[in-house]
Amino acid sequence: MINPAPAAAAPLVALRHVYQTYKKDNHLLRVLQDINLEIHPNEILCLVGESGCGKTTTGKIIAGLLTHTEGEVLFKGRPPASYTGARERADLRRTLQIVHQDPFASLNPAHTIGQILSYPLQRHGMVSGRAALRRRIWELLTLVDLTPPGDVVNKYPHQLSGGQRQRVSIARALTVQPGLIVADEAVSMVDVSIRIGILKMLHRLREELRLAIVFITHDLALAKYFAWEGRIAVMYLGRIVEIGPTPQVIGQPAHPYTRALLAAVPEADPDLTRHKQQIPLRSEDIPALAAIPPGCAFHPRCPFHVPGLCDASLPPLAVPAGFQQQAACLPLHQPEGLRRYGT
């Protein structure tokens, strides 16, 4: 139910007990702990959570751009080391693409849009001959709704609007016919009025090209809209605390952290937002990664924490009774769930 893909196919990417740790001034920074994820072709997975919780790090590992410290990462069922031939490795690299937040920083300002798109096409031998190259660039620009392509192809990035630049970044990711795109805050810098257009385009590309999309955002309303037919994973201090189908996670959140986040988000509707029930936290500050609290990392802030339980043992990520998603919260897994604690 949580991974709706056909059972036979190996997931495009699988993370099993993945840890990422950095050393900093004699501290261990546990940036990711015990991350388990599967991403199947054509699937949407959304990673949400507050700044520093490990979304980008997870995204980079999924895209094969970062080597994890512990655990296993499988691409189409195989570890990266098993991709030996140059051809195979190149294939793997092009299958996984990432689109960053700031298209200005990631597009070379000295190159025209046509050049920006032609380099990867040529480097990966995706087309042969000038005519085919030109045709493919035209196709790609059309695919991302930059039409007519003739108006765009000779322009430089600074001559385009922020939204148009982000469309170019997406077109560039598509040059190599990837199977998965990690979109890391890809529309965060784009104006609200045009964001939805880019998201709709990503939806369409997903259908037409059978793409899997890992969508990283700190905006929960946007996550809900984009991932309605997929899953959401909520991260806190380097762990996934809740994961499941979007309508369930948003409509019937299980973990107290998810509930607090959802309650805190203002709504673009005056009545709705002014009558939203808040969940007051016990503390406003996120603990440092160098000093992650024992037990459930959320317990010092959690209004429902049970002394002696939540601060003592690590909650497993499991499906609580009455829910369809997994959540890592010990009280939730007890017979009466959080109700016992007056919620």
Binding site: A221, G251, V265
Partner: protein, 345 residues
């Protein structure tokens, strides 16, 4: 639903304000014929997409425009607590220095990262107070009280360096500092942008409570409709340097009459409304050096007709609510469209 009592006094009155920047390509009219009244205790949210002139209005109001920016025309009249009016455009540099912080203070866009890292919060407070003749003891007491009000640990924050505070704590410190000299008006430029959800929530809650206790007026700049929906009494939608619609928050959200406001609302996802049908506005904002003729929005507007393309629509008042003004030829159609959409939800 918001209830408006008998209109309180106007503290800031802006008429036909025009501001431009000198650019290499020519004069860029960033704010064009903007008029509004800000009442005592009122929170006015300025919404609109990047580059529509929100920050320029705020900088113009306190005359802190960069050297290339000038106020071309218009009036900015401020009313002091003693009832005297002040022509802000006519203030001398010395008078302006007294006006800032004491009458009108601000939290700048991106201020979060611009606090001087080697200056303690206490020194920042003392410097601001000293410039306005407030003595150290009063400044300290007032600051500690305000820190308490914005839910900070007063003593710890007072003695801290900015880098020792989290983003949310710094933003609340700035908010408290802005209130140090008891101004009547606080200008806030995107104070909740680029902060985390729970931090944003605490800033919103703190702002709401402070406003109730201290009754200052706020001009709140945001491109986030949801934040505006939550804290504003009045919402003004800006497009290409102009306020094209303004009214009580419920009017603007539930009974918008301008195609651009409608477009913004249709593009805003709501978390607790299940599956949604959203739409974006096609195209992008016009060039402000050479704005299009007629209604500045017509190139992106699905309701545009011939007169929109030639003649700028005048500002009119909604028949149901005289506080609701709009510059659009198709108010009835837009109102109907929105109501049908709301009925469908």
């Amino acid at each position: 639903m918001t209830v408006t009592p008998a209109a309180p006094e106007v503290v800031l009155s802006v008429r036909n304000l025009c501001i431009s920047y000198l650019t290499r390509r020519g004069r860029l009219r960033a704010v064009n014929k903007v008029s509004f009244d800000l009442h005592a205790g009122e929170t006015l949210a300025l919404i609109g997409e990047s580059g529509c002139g929100k920050s320029t209005i705020n900088l113009g109001l306190i005359r802190l425009l960069p050297p290339t920016g000038t106020i071309d025309s218009g009036e900015i009249v401020y009313r002091r607590r003693d009832g005297q009016t002040v022509d802000v455009r006519g203030l001398t540099t010395g008078q302006l220095r007294q006006f800032l912080w004491r009458e009108c203070s601000m939290v700048f866009q991106g201020a979060l990262n611009s606090l001087n890292p080697v200056i303690k919060i206490s020194s920042m407070i003392y410097d601001t107070a000293a410039a306005h003749g407030m003595d150290k003891k009063e400044a300290r007491d007032r600051a500690l009280d305000l820190f308490q009000k914005v839910r900070l640990d007063p003593r710890r924050v007072f003695n801290a360096y900015p880098h020792e505070l989290s983003g949310g704590m710094r933003q609340r410190t700035l908010l408290a500092t802005a209130l140090l000299l008891r101004p009547q008006v606080v200008l806030m430029d995107e104070p909740t942008t680029a902060v985390d959800i729970l931090t944003q929530r605490s800033i919103i809650d703190v702002l709401k409570r402070l406003r109730e206790e201290l009754n200052f007026s706020v001009i709140f700049i945001s491109h986030d409709l949801a934040v505006a929906a939550e804290i504003a009494d009045t919402v003004a939608t800006m497009y290409a340097g102009e306020i094209i619609e303004m009214g009580p928050v419920a009017e603007v959200f539930y009974r918008p009459r301008h195609a651009y406001t409608l477009g913004l609302l249709e593009a805003a996802p709501r978390l607790s409304v299940g599956r949604e049908e959203l739409h974006s506005i096609p195209g992008s904002p016009p060039d402000l050096v050479e704005p299009p003729p007629g209604c500045r929005f017509h190139l992106r507007c699905r309701f545009a007709t011939d007169e929109c393309r030639t003649t700028p629509p005048p500002l009119t008042t909604a028949p149901e609510d005289e506080r609701h003004t709009v510059a659009c030829y198709h108010t009835a159609t837009i109102l109907k469209t929105r109501q049908e959409e709301l009925a469908r939800d």
